[in-house]
Amino acid sequence: MSSMGSLGSVMVAMSGGVDSSVAAAMLVDEGYDVTGVTLKLWGGDSDTGCCSASDTDDARRVADQLGIAHYVFDFTDSFHGDVVDTYVADHVAGLTPNPCVECNRTIKFGRLLERVDALGIDLLATGHHARVEIGPGGRRQLLRGHDSAKDQSYVVAMLSEAQLQRVRFPVGRLTKADVREHAARIGLRTATKPDSQDVCFITRGGRREFLREHVADRAGSFVDGAGNVIGEHDGYARFTVGQRRGLGIAMGERRFVVDVDAGSAAVTIGTPSDLLRDEVSVRDVTFVDGPPLAEISVQARAHGPAVAARLDGGRVLFAAPQLRVAPGQLIALYDAHDPDVVVGSAVAR
């Protein structure tokens, strides 16, 4: 009860990692009334994902050290339906899903934010490396994290200004090194914990093994750009546009997956130049705070480069040709003049 601040109340989503641990610590220091929560998301047999018992123990121990209450919410049903099933269905459809984005959209800033509201708690905080700042007229802006190497604005680019009013990312103004240093200074057991890797519900065997177990895949042909069959594969769903490794066919020069067609199970192979596109059609366009100026920069991978583009209705037009964005991938939209400012998101068709 040491933290009953006049700043209001905040629930911190604590994964048991160092970023969210320090986020909670910073909010306590700032004087918020802080409550911790860990989401149990995956009831599978793995004990290494983001929701394992030992991670929950770590989060609870950190909460104890900070003198704040800590709860566990079991959202396994939502996670299974909204994230894992979607991940599987997207693969079946030949798409390249981003389950962490989907989890942020439907779970953390969906069901959890609703729960926070229902509990009468003012704010939700997470350990994402992004920043929420007050812009003109008191409107909230979403910015890249201060540590460009750890910036996670891409995975929260779907948030709206209305959500940002209720969301805080305390560690977004720190570097990762700062975060670890802060955790070590106050003696948190998570200080030296390694960063989480990959998708939390995929552990033993990796993505390929998970897909083998969960996706009704179909064998098919490798074809070239003209539709000529140049080989056979054992399942289209494990291929992603832009993929180079694991094609299992010997070619004279570097070859990439250019297209995946779920209907015919055909996987088109081509050279890097076959992957170049002037534009990408998009769906599910969201804006942080209304439509931006037409000139934007776009980023199609969590840590990829942002490139100049224009948004034209359902299309993103690149200023210079770019490697094709895999259908299903999120595209984060940034302000062309202030490259730290997120203006929205879209999903590649």
């Binding site: 929950t56 709860y71 079991d74």
Partner: protein
């Protein structure tokens, strides 16, 4: 021991330790530190404490001292009963079939399911919507091959007292070689275990549900009931449970059980009044209901559901307002898993997920009920307002 402003309504999870139990244990830990298996004066002092505790527990459970096996938990007592009796029955050629109910504590269910992977035939008898074992269905599962039957005396979630004497009669008639185990961990605080379980060969109890310490339980092993031990070693507990005796724990269990038995009638009368007030007011909330047949519940149990409310959120609001309650069956992480007990009673997942358990005990007072009633109705209303829940018409 707890903040005055906290309403602790989770006695089925654990109870505060009784001050006299604590004093007795501290005295043992501080003075009679000997290993009771030894032969010198220090060992003899510890042995005297241990055997006095054994006599006391035996007397309160209707057993003889040689029939008491101290364990390190109620779970261990259940595991020793299930694994030990099933393996002994198999070794004696008495049958590989085990019959339990679908609402047993996980300490029984998980042990039985483990045995199923070792080739035992395990059947789980269904229960009625009121949370009572279906006697007819249970009877159908019994035959000459049945080597072990396990029925809890009181359910930990919904507090229903199970018809153990009737089940004993059924088992004796149909499965003459079967050993009967009862998990009396939740029962000992509320019912006369010595009488109700008089004909069971194996009875599990746990100290911390009675105002005793965590980390101590006991299993009554009647007469010469064959039992394969789980822990082998120095032959303690008549060879049934090796390991240096936890003398302070045994003393704590004995004293907590004795206090419980001595005060039981008074506690039940007092807690029944508290419970009725709590339950009565909560059931005035629109679209609320009670889980478990109220006619056969122990005095300490209130298990209520509120349509459209997520129990997980309700418990947070309750906790933030100083009311400690529970839902489902708690797991080590602090998460609440969906209740298999409520599912076995036929509740749909939404109604099960809208239910909470408030469990009172010897330490409960009027102020606890006052606080719960000041907090819970308002919290239910808040969550319903946030979720836009439409209240179902009550029949």
């Amino acid at each position: 021991m707890q903040e005055a402003s906290i309403a602790y309504l989770d006695h089925a999870a654990t109870t505060p330790i009784r001050p006299d139990v604590l004093d007795a244990m501290v005295s043992v830990l501080g003075h009679d530190f000997g290993n009771p298996s030894g032969g010198h004066s220090v060992a003899r002092a510890a042995k005297a404490d241990l055997e006095a505790a054994r006599e006391s527990v035996a007397s309160d459970l209707g057993a003889s001292p040689s029939e008491i096996v101290f364990t390190n938990s109620g779970t261990e007592a259940d595991n020793l009963a299930i694994f030990g009796a099933a393996r002994a029955a198999r070794a004696a050629g008495h049958g590989d079939a085990i019959v339990v109910t679908s609402i047993e504590h996980k300490a029984v269910l998980a042990a039985a399911r483990r045995l199923a992977t070792e080739g035992f035939s395990v059947s789980e008898a269904p229960v009625t919507p009121g949370g009572i074992v279906d006697l007819e269905a249970l009877g159908d599962l019994l035959d000459e091959q049945t080597g072990l039957v396990s029925l809890m005396l009181v359910n930990n979630e919904v507090g229903t007292i199970q018809p153990l004497p009737e089940v004993v009669e059924l088992v004796r008639a149909r499965s003459p070689r079967a050993v009967i185990h009862t998990d009396a961990v939740q029962a000992a605080a509320w019912v006369d275990v010595a009488t109700l379980a008089a004909d069971a060969e194996l009875i599990s109890v746990s100290a911390h549900k009675l105002g005793g310490p965590k980390g101590t339980g006991a299993l009554v092993v009647r007469g010469l009931t064959p039992l394969v031990p789980l822990l082998e070693g120095g032959g303690q507990e008549h060879g049934r449970r090796a390991g240096t005796s936890n003398v302070a724990g045994a003393v704590g269990l004995a004293q907590a059980l004795r206090a419980t038995v001595d005060e039981r009638d008074v506690t039940i009368a007092r807690v029944t009044d508290l419970r009725d007030r709590l339950r009565g007011r909560l059931l005035e909330i629109p679209d609320s209901w009670e889980n478990g047949d109220a006619a056969v519940k122990v005095a300490g149990n209130v298990h209520v559901g509120f349509g459209g409310v997520e129990s997980e959120a309700l418990l947070v609001l309750a906790d933030r307002a100083g009311v400690c309650a529970a839902a489902g069956s708690s797991c080590s992480s602090g998460a609440t898993e969906p209740s298999y007990v409520l599912a076995a009673m036929g509740l749909d997942p939404a109604d099960a997920g809208a239910s909470i358990r408030l469990s009172l005990g010897f330490a409960s007072a009027d102020t606890d009920v006052d606080r719960a009633l000041a907090v819970l109705p308002v919290a239910v209303e808040q969550l319903r307002a946030a979720g836009g829940t439409k209240i179902r018409a009550t029949a």
